[in-house]
């Protein structure tokens, strides 16, 4: 995923989330992220670059817009604000600060805000900015204080607070030491309340000297090895502009369980979903007239009396062997209960016993929960080390939730991997692979074919090596979801047409053909006879070929009414096929809504049998 997220998520963020979780994992308790853009609106910001390059202000607005639109999709519950400083006009909650203009208060971003920011872009945007705000005196101290008030006015629990200063002036107060000092004090106040201050210094003729003033304002880099300020200004901005259209997921355990090695030896572990099929966000029902959301209420009532039914008035039933079997709702749940939730170690098996095709569900990730049982991490780590050293997996029985039937799982050890930049690529822990039961296999009747000769295989190898690429699991966006988000964006922002989506999972046929050159033909010459065309279906063979896919329409068969009557009398209607029955229905003028065979038969018997 884009670096933007990586850049703006740091470790203490995670810890806070984890802490939040322990009290239930509810969103509200976990807290929301917040981000304030504090943008310099001085004259310098509006100066256009050479060769018609956009002004710094323009670039900033672009970045703000892209962060807004990204956030709207990835985590729209986060709070964002846009504040200008060094303005002529003032606008802030109590209007107690001069030259500070709160354009957007700290709140969830929406379409209106994106449009607002759009309006501030370009030539017209510059004018609009000049009209509404103008450029005036600068007091970064006041601006920071105003931002602090924005934060303190929020009654929600904030998990992460960040403030970004966009400026191209390294000496905002032009050497006024009082104002400098004030700004420093305010900055340290903010940092004290947990706000991380970041500087997005923009291009400035002669270079931007961070050391003059801003070094004391921004938060120190989290990692000693990384000097946050040395990043080139454009790099950071580019990162910001990267659009992310994916819902951001908070790290949250699906379940906290005990991994039981034996009587009295329980290791606390958390299950984490690391790959979950993302879907389009759900639709909301709106009232057509007013576009206001409607709530849905589902109720269960008695068909005859019309009275509402309470859960106690309801039972559950299934029909088997022509008999309806009725159970209480509690019993239905009780049937599913085998044991309390947990993982039970059954034994170990060598890795080669884990078959590739034993796949029924995406894997989950297992990590110790030292906070639940002290000593878990150590035992877990020992188990991990040994399993991976001996190349074995642990076979466990897993009941992931209350009243969930058990499944067997393979705990496959995964060592921690880090890249050159000491960033974790894979976390240490066990991948939990769900194993199939006997019922999950389908019996196939594999067709027999002659195998390919070595020359044929070698030719294919050439093809394969021509089309080699490095697979990365995060390289493919889901075109369905991407299109949906773009459509939504276009509608929300009154755009003429949605942005184009590049379908990354479409084979680049032209490129492939080019790379293959004559190889494809050569291979075909080796395996196919000259008159063979795989595109056309050999009609003759088709019928016997696959029984399941037979979609050809059978020629219409008709039966006379007499024959039908005979069938009805002999009770042999079942022998007739559905198309024949349908035809027969038409013939004798029976209207059926059903398409099931039995329905058709019943209808015919009703007509002819009497």
């Amino acid at each position: 995923m884009a670096e933007w997220n990586a850049y703006y998520r740091n470790e203490d963020d995670e810890e806070e989330q984890e802490e939040g979780e322990q009290s239930g994992g509810d969103y509200k308790i976990t807290g929301r992220d917040s981000l304030v853009f504090l943008v310099d609106a001085s004259k310098e910001m509006f100066i256009k670059g050479e060769d018609g390059q956009p002004s710094n202000f323009d670039m900033t607005m672009q970045a703000v817009r892209s962060v807004y639109t990204s956030k709207i999709i990835s985590s729209h519950r986060d709070l964002m604000a846009l504040v200008f400083y060094g303005t002529e006009q003032s606008k802030n909650p109590r209007n107690s600060f001069k030259h500070v203009y709160v354009y957007h208060d700290l709140d969830e971003p929406g379409a209106k805000r994106v449009q607002d920011v759009d309006a501030l872009q370009g030539e017209k945007g510059g004018q609009l900015a000049a009209e509404t705000m103008g450029s005036g005196e600068t007091s970064l101290g006041d601006a920071l204080w105003c931002c602090a008030n924005l934060y303190s006015d929020i009654k929600l629990r904030l998990s992460h607070k960040r403030l970004m200063i966009f400026t191209c002036r390294d000496e905002p107060h032009g050497g006024n030491s009082t104002k400098d000092r004030q700004a420093r004090t305010k900055a340290s106040d903010l940092k004290e309340t947990g706000v991380v201050i970041d500087l997005m210094h923009l291009m400035k003729p002669g270079g931007f000297d961070v050391s003059i003033f801003f070094r004391d304002i921004v938060s120190p880099p989290e990692d000693e090895s990384e000097l946050g300020l040395q990043l080139e200004p454009c790099d950071k901005l580019e990162d910001l502009k990267k659009r992310v259209r994916a819902k951001e997921q908070k790290k949250r355990a699906m379940a906290r369980l005990n991994l039981c090695l034996g009587e009295g030896l329980n290791v606390a572990v958390g299950l984490y979903a690391t790959a979950v099929t993302a879907r389009k966000p759900g639709a909301i029902k709106l009232y057509r007239e007013t576009n206001e959301p409607v709530r849905s209420k589902t109720r269960t009532f008695h068909t005859q009396t019309g009275s509402l039914l309470l859960p106690s008035d309801i039972k559950k039933a299934q029909v088997y062997g022509k008999k309806q079997i009725v159970m209480e709702k509690d019993e239905v749940d009780a049937i599913k209960k085998f044991d309390d939730p947990g993982l039970l170690l059954i034994g170990f098996k060598p890795m080669e016993k884990l078959k590739l095709h034993h796949h029924v569900r995406p894997a989950v990730f297992l990590y110790p929960e030292e906070g639940e049982v002290k000593g878990s991490a150590c035992l877990f780590s020992a188990l991990l080390t040994k399993c991976s050293e001996r190349n074995v997996f642990a076979l466990c029985r897993c009941i992931s939730r209350r009243n969930y039937p058990p499944r067997f799982v393979a705990l496959v050890p995964q060592k921690e991997e880090i890249d050159e930049g000491k960033v974790q690529i894979t976390p240490p822990g066990f991948n939990v692979i769900f194993l199939p039961y006997a019922d999950d296999f389908r019996t196939l009747d594999p067709p027999q074919f002659p195998t390919a000769s070595q020359t044929q295989v070698d030719k294919m190898k050439e093809i394969i090596s021509k089309l080699r690429f490095r697979y990365r699991s995060d390289a493919f966006e889901n075109p369905v979801i991407q299109q949906h988000y773009r459509n939504l964006e276009a509608l929300a922002l009154d755009m003429m047409a949605p942005e184009d989506v590049e379908d990354l999972i479409m084979p680049k046929a032209e490129q492939m053909d080019h790379r293959l050159g004559p190889l494809a033909q050569e291979f075909k010459d080796l395996v196919y006879p000259s008159d063979y065309n795989p595109e056309t279906k050999p009609a003759a063979k088709r019928k016997t070929a696959d029984t399941g896919g037979g979609a050809e329409k059978k020629p219409k068969v008709e039966v006379s009414e007499d024959e039908l009557r005979a069938h009805v009398q002999n009770g042999t209607m079942g022998k007739l096929t559905v198309p024949v029955l349908k035809e027969a229905c038409k013939q004798v003028g029976v209207r059926t809504t059903g398409t099931k065979k039995q329905e058709l038969i019943d209808a015919l018997i009703a007509r002819l049998g009497s």
């Binding site: 309340t193 008999k323 159970m327 990590y367 150590c378 295989v457 697979y471 889901n478 896919g549």
Partner: protein
């Protein structure tokens, strides 16, 4: 047409010898009945199309079409050929009893054959089978044996025998009785003459029908019950998915895909029925939509459209528009995007819930060779194909990997879905290795080592062959087994509570016994080496009542409500700072002050000193904002002092502050203070105060009139300096 089905006649001996048994043994009759019950149960729950008939022999009555002239006596066709249902199960449960006659089992066999032939006429079955459950204890005449065998062969009917005792194929025709085979109690008494003759005849029949494996179809009741105890797996016919594998635009291979592994679900879901009538029709569920107003005005479903959240906005986006604008594609597709190293596709990143096996189109040899070349080339290069897969036009396309799979008798590609970017959640977890606290010691590691040794499920046996003790993929889904067990119980024994789980099922979900014995010692060792302590659940974030609990004891009725609200807010803030309030800070000195006082971790005096220090700092700035902040501090100071019943510190500070106003040029600030009417604390408010109510009020007013500039008394400033020094 309607798929393959088979016809089966269960032919059970209910004659009197079936009730004979040794002491403590279950009579053969009961065992045979169980076999039939289990078998029918399986048929019912698997909802097979197979048809069943039940023929009993040894009955008092005679009911069969061949019963003429005192032939074929004591044989009853209990049920004709039809699909098994609960009625049959109930009949077996309640109507089949041991009876007092004996009948010739060969006669019974003939009745069954006759039934099969008559009732299968004109229908298609792919298997005709007769299962005979008997102790072979009745006299039978072997006169027509050859004719019977001939007929069986001609009609293609297969036979199965279920007996109370085992029959070995190396055995000579009966002879010496008294063979004892543990586990088969029915053999205990040895075989009667009739049985020996019958066994010979049976063997003759079976071996004539199938020379090689004929005797494999002779089972004992015990074994049959063992094998039948599981409910039959759910049968699904594999659906073929014909498509073309394409590489680039010109190379394509005709293929067909089949779901090979997928998480199977129960076919039926629970219907909701009325508790009284048990009728589904009596219950109706209805969803209504209503506006979020006071009246909850109902809105017709047709009057709703759909919308989506876009940030804080809702964007109306009708289904029609959505369909028009949505991503569309060309439909069915299995197109190679490229080839990648097999090890770059991580097992734990498999998505979806199925594995599809891809074969060449049936009957197309050329496609077979072409696909074989792909499979073998991939296998030799240790590569996989990354493909775009779309089931059809309506379904969303996927990205996935096709792995080569070469088996002894066939080759195929195995397709598994892979994740999209959006599906991945890049969580990072703290390292386990670099943390000394979590690093296991050598002895700890070796304890784990011996645990693994003791719990290996795959072992080499004496022949050097690997033996897997627990093949998970051979275990039937316990959820289904339990489900059917309970359903069956409820259907057959209504009104009784659900039965406990069957013991074999329970055992299948536990450690194999060998393992649990073997691992005892290593587990004990592990327990010693790894101390594990349950952490007391951290208290949930404290509620304000808990934090300020002591406060509520202050007997001041007036403040209760207002303060609660305020405290709520303070609590929020305290939360954010998460316990970091250890001294009065410069950001929210008033709140810090209140928190500290309430927490009582520091003496009141000291907290007041910290606060006054901050106030002095704030006033040094000479700016309205700072003045406002100072005033909130002073207000807090005053409030808390009143609460604590300690007016002295506050009053003396305020007095000294007042004295310093002119010197420090803080008149503007003083005006604000006067506006907010922040007075001294009077005797009325706190007993210990030396200031009367009047004096307190005069404190502010008087100053306004008095123009004189009194220098602050030395001791006061001294106090103040001391205060500063102490910090």
């Amino acid at each position: 047409m309607a798929g393959s089905k088979s016809a089966l006649v269960l032919c059970m001996d209910v004659g009197f010898s079936m009730s004979n048994s040794g002491p403590g043994e279950e009579p053969p009759f009961e065992l045979a009945k169980k076999v039939i019950q289990k078998f029918v149960q399986r048929q019912v729950f698997a909802e097979t199309k197979d048809e069943l008939a039940l023929v009993l022999f040894g009955t008092e009555d005679t009911k069969n079409p061949l019963a003429l002239d005192r032939q074929y006596q004591h044989i009853t066709i209990h049920r004709h050929l039809m699909v098994a249902d609960f009625e049959l199960l109930e009949e077996i449960e309640n109507q089949i009893h041991p009876e007092s006659q004996q009948a010739d089992w060969l006669d019974a066999l003939v009745v069954c054959m006759d039934l099969l032939q008559k009732e299968t006429k004109g229908k298609k079955y792919d298997r005709l089978n007769i299962a005979l459950l008997t102790d072979l204890n009745a006299q039978s005449s072997s006169d027509h044996l050859d004719v019977i065998i001939e007929n069986l062969k001609r009609a293609g009917i297969t036979l199965q025998f279920f007996l109370p005792f085992p029959v070995k194929d190396d055995e000579e025709g009966g002879g010496n009785g008294g063979r004892r085979s543990p586990g088969h109690p029915g053999t205990g008494k040895g075989l009667s003459m009739e049985q020996k003759d019958s066994v010979d005849m049976m063997k003759h029949i079976m071996l004539t029908l199938d020379e090689e494996d004929g005797l494999d179809q002779i089972h004992t009741f015990r074994n049959a019950i063992e094998q039948l105890r599981m409910f039959k797996g759910i049968e699904r016919r594999p659906m073929a998915w014909p498509c073309q594998l394409t590489i680039g635009s010109s190379l394509s291979i005709r293929i067909v895909g089949f779901k090979a592994v997928t998480e199977e679900k129960l076919k039926k879901i629970w219907a909701t029925v009325d508790a009284q009538t048990a009728q589904k029709e009596d219950v109706k569920r209805e969803t209504v939509y209503c506006l979020d107003d006071d009246n909850e005005t109902e809105v017709q479903k047709d009057d709703t459209i759909q919308g989506f959240l876009y940030g804080s906005d809702i964007v109306p986006f009708s289904k029609v528009d959505q369909d028009q604008m949505k991503y569309t594609h060309d439909g069915k597709c299995f197109a190679v995007l490229g080839f990648a190293k097999e090890n770059t596709v991580r097992r734990h990143q498999f998505m979806g819930n199925q594995v599809i096996k891809i074969f060449a189109a049936r009957g197309d040899e050329h496609a077979g060779v072409a696909l074989s070349a792909v499979i073998r080339a991939l296998d030799e290069c240790k590569m996989v194909a990354i493909v775009r897969y779309a089931y059809d036009r309506r379904s969303n396309p996927q990205i996935g990997a096709a792995f080569p799979c070469i088996k002894r008798d066939y080759e195929c590609l195995m397709y598994v879905q892979l994740p999209f970017t959006e599906d991945l959640r890049q969580f990072t977890f703290p390292s386990l290795e670099n943390n000394k606290k979590f690093t296991p010691s050598e002895t700890q590691l070796s304890a784990v080592d011996s645990l693994i040794d003791s719990m290996m499920l795959v072992e080499e046996d004496e022949n050097g062959e690997k033996r897997d003790m627990l093949k998970v993929h051979h275990i039937p889904n316990p959820a289904f087994q339990r489900h059917f067990q309970c359903l069956h119980h409820r259907a057959v024994c209504p009104g009784t509570p659900l039965p406990p789980m069957e013991s074999w099922l329970k055992a299948a979900l536990e450690r194999p016994e060998v393992i649990s014995e073997r691992c005892q010692a290593p587990l004990e060792e592990m327990k010693k080496k790894f101390p594990l302590t349950q952490v007391e659940k951290k208290k949930k974030l404290k509620t304000s009542a808990q934090i300020f609990g002591k406060d509520s004891e202050v007997p001041d009725a007036k403040k209760a409500k207002g303060d609660d609200e305020e405290e709520e807010e303070e609590y929020n803030l305290a939360d954010i700072a998460e316990g970091s309030v250890t001294s009065v800070g410069s950001v929210n000195p008033d709140r810090d002050f209140c928190t500290l006082i309430k927490r009582k971790s520091l003496p009141f005096g000291e907290v007041c000193q910290q606060l006054t220090h901050r106030i002095e700092q704030l006033l040094g700035n000479k700016n309205t904002h700072y003045y406002m902040k100072s005033i909130t501090c002073i207000q807090a100071f005053r409030e808390q002092s009143v609460k604590q019943g300690n007016a002295e510190l506050y009053n003396s500070y305020l007095q000294s502050l007042k004295r310093s106003i002119p010197n420090r040029g803080l008149e503007v600030f003083w005006d604000l203070l006067v506006q907010d009417a922040i007075t001294l604390i009077s005797k009325d408010e706190v007993d210990g105060s030396f200031v009367s109510k009047n004096e307190a009020n005069q404190f502010l007013v008087a100053e306004e009139k008095k123009e004189e500039t009194t220098a602050p008394p030395a001791e006061d400033t001294g106090d103040f300096d001391d205060l500063l020094d102490m910090m």
